[in-house]
């Protein structure tokens, strides 16, 4: 028998380990929960302000602003027209308000991921040791089932918008960091040498050479980050984030097929709008690489 069953720790020991860790974490939550919550208060205020702005402004203005922003970024009337039609359809099928909440949420999450992710990516690109430390953490963040890290987040912050943002950012920030790091590391060594030869400081090299040349890769990171934020809205709705995820969750629980499909399609529509607009914008920034000497 002894070779059939794995010699695991006894039930009592395992229970003790769990209880100790759980109690420890609860202790931590009680001690620091409020401080952490206070630290993230500005994020909450910004998210609520943006959500209110999108919902309480007349829909026609919001529609015009979004379509204009998409056109300004992409300079492509097809993408702008697609955006217009998609938003009108969303409005007609009664999903306008939820869509606005989701857009506000994704915007805040993406901005947070960019603000945190780009500096971390830059730091990582400058030190091989830091890269060796951060890479497994990013692997963990991307593969750990999101429900698992929802537990401590909810324990500290409770239900609501801020834990939602944290959960989404944990899931969406890895590609931002990875691609910033990769983009900077791939910058042509010859060009960097030239920058050195002219006596550039580290900051001048970063700002005038490394970041501009890494921009296409960084833009791909931002694009991935937006897509992954949208993918997380349903999971985030489980901890009380309102928006398009909530009706989907409701549809799962009650087997409302049509409700699920409609809201799912609305998420897809927003994803495509964000994706095409951000990619077209990224491409436009790279106009120097388009015309090749024949």
């Amino acid at each position: 028998m002894e070779w059939i069953e794995f010699p695991s720790l006894s039930r009592e020991t395992l229970r003790d380990i769990r209880v100790t860790l759980d109690d420890g974490f609860k202790e931590f939550t009680r001690a620091y929960g409020e401080t952490l919550e206070a630290m993230l208060e500005p994020l909450k205020i910004f998210l609520i302000w943006l959500e209110d702005l999108l919902i309480s402004s007349p829909w026609i203005i919001i529609l015009a602003v979004i379509v204009a922003a998409v056109y300004a970024g992409s300079r492509n009337w097809k993408i702008a027209l697609g955006t217009f039609l998609a938003l009108v359809a969303i409005g007609i099928f009664g999903m306008w308000e939820d869509t606005m909440r989701t857009i506000a949420m994704v915007t805040v999450c993406t901005i947070t991921a960019i603000v945190l992710g780009i500096p971390i990516g830059i730091a990582m690109s400058r030190s091989d040791r830091l890269q060796a430390i951060i890479t497994p953490i990013l692997d963990l963040m991307q593969t750990m089932p999101s429900f698992v890290y929802l537990i401590p987040v909810v324990m500290i912050f409770g239900l609501g918008k801020v834990p939602g943002v944290i959960a989404v950012v944990i899931y969406a920030i890895p590609p931002m960091i990875r691609l910033t790091n990769l983009g900077i590391r791939l910058v042509d060594k010859d060009v960097l040498e030239a920058a050195d030869a002219f006596g550039s400081s580290n900051w001048q090299k970063l700002k005038d050479v490394q970041l501009p040349l890494a921009l296409p890769t960084i833009m791909a990171g931002i694009n991935q980050c937006i897509m992954m934020s949208l993918a997380m809205v349903v999971v985030a709705s489980m901890i009380g984030v309102r928006g398009l995820g909530q009706p989907v969750l409701q549809a799962i629980n009650n087997q409302y097929f049509t409700l699920g499909v409609m809201n799912g399609l609305a998420i897809v529509a927003i994803a495509i709008i964000f994706d095409r607009a951000s990619q077209a914008y990224g491409k436009r920034l790279q106009k120097h690489s388009e015309v090749i000497h024949g």
């Binding site: 010859d190 050195d196 050479v209 015309v291």
Partner: protein, 342 residues
């Protein structure tokens, strides 16, 4: 504008994690192959001593792997030496602090690269102002100075083009304009014209010589092409396996090659373009009707003048018209075709 010379003294570079430990072995005569075999370190430069005169073009020549690109990177310390000194205006570049080095690179040197190394996301104008931008020069002034050099290298009208809209030759003109706009005393050119096709290369050499006549910068030019070295170099140093095997004027090297390796190198050289009339002239009194040729002229030009005039004799005079010696067309032609023994 007079520029100062650069003196390289006892410079060694050993690539590998513990380069310093092996300097003494190399000083004791260990060869590049032995160092690599016994200690796994690569000897990059071996006891380099070169004086690069101010306001002149010094060419460092060698085949690939000879250490010439490593050497030029020691002058602005893109590579740190293992031992030795690089003296400019009394200061050792190798001992400068980071801040001093940054200042030295900004104000005293400019560099042109084999693969151009332009900033692909910037236009020609914005590439050209890069050095001044790094120095913190006001934008309008920087662009004004850049435009002058863009015109000088023949790129007027291309200011707003991106590098990949230009041909290789034009891209290297941008590289040259970027370096010249910096207005530094030292111009480092690392195989600057090697990536260009022969006609464009000749063209760029002419541009460089024209500009040098006016500016008299201290230019260090790296090449693997002997014809280019002889055309451009006031002073030529030949490198092999990280060591200087001969240095001198182009004429010295062609006339007195130091070893079989260099003899082999120079045997196909057009001597008529390298040897000066002064080298072959004799003290023999020229006839009254002799042609006048000025000192420093190349044999090829002298032969051309003599044969065009149908003359046999020519007298060599210096700038003030003073008689220095004489040549005959036979002497001239035989010096062009056979190794001269004067």
């Amino acid at each position: 504008m007079a520029s100062d010379g650069i003196e390289i003294r006892n410079l060694y570079k050993i690539f590998g994690p513990k380069g310093e430990d092996y300097v003494d072995l190399v000083k004791g005569g260990m060869s590049k192959a032995a160092l690599n075999e016994q200690h796994g370190h690569v000897l990059g430069l071996n006891d380099i001593n070169i004086f690069m005169p101010g306001g002149k073009i010094t060419v460092v020549m060698g085949l690939s792997g000879s250490g010439k690109s490593t050497l030029i990177r020691h002058i602005n310390r893109l590579i740190d030496p293992t031992a030795g000194e690089v003296i400019y205006q009394g200061n050792d570049v190798c001992k400068m602090s980071d801040a001093e080095l940054q200042d030295f690179r900004r104000h005293k040197t400019a560099m042109v690269f084999q693969k151009f190394a332009l900033l692909p996301h910037r236009t020609v104008l914005k590439n050209t102002v890069y050095g001044l931008e790094v120095q913190g020069v006001d934008k309008d002034e920087a662009e004004q100075r850049a435009r002058k050099w863009i015109t000088r290298v023949g790129l007027e009208g291309f200011e707003d083009h991106y590098p990949n809209q230009l041909s290789g030759g034009m891209q290297q003109r941008v590289g040259l304009a970027r370096a010249l706009t910096n207005d530094a005393d030292i111009l480092l050119m690392d195989e600057a014209f090697s990536a260009l096709d022969p006609l464009i290369r000749m063209d760029m050499q002419t541009v460089l010589l024209d500009i040098q006549e006016e500016l008299e910068k201290t230019i260090v030019f790296i090449t693997h092409d002997l014809d280019e070295a002889l055309r451009l170099g006031d002073h030529i140093a030949i490198l092999r396996d990280g060591a200087v095997i001969q240095q001198g004027s182009g004429q010295d090297i062609v006339l007195n090659p130091a070893d079989a390796y260099i003899t082999d190198f120079v045997k196909d050289v057009n001597r008529g373009r390298v040897i000066e009339v002064d080298t072959i002239m004799t003290k023999k009194e020229p006839p009254k009707d002799a042609l006048i040729i000025s000192s420093g002229a190349m044999l090829e030009d002298a032969a051309k003048k003599l044969s065009e005039a149908g003359a046999v004799n020519a007298k060599i005079v210096d700038g003030t018209g003073k008689l220095l010696g004489s040549i005959t067309i036979q002497d001239t032609i035989s010096a062009m075709v056979t190794p001269a023994t004067h």
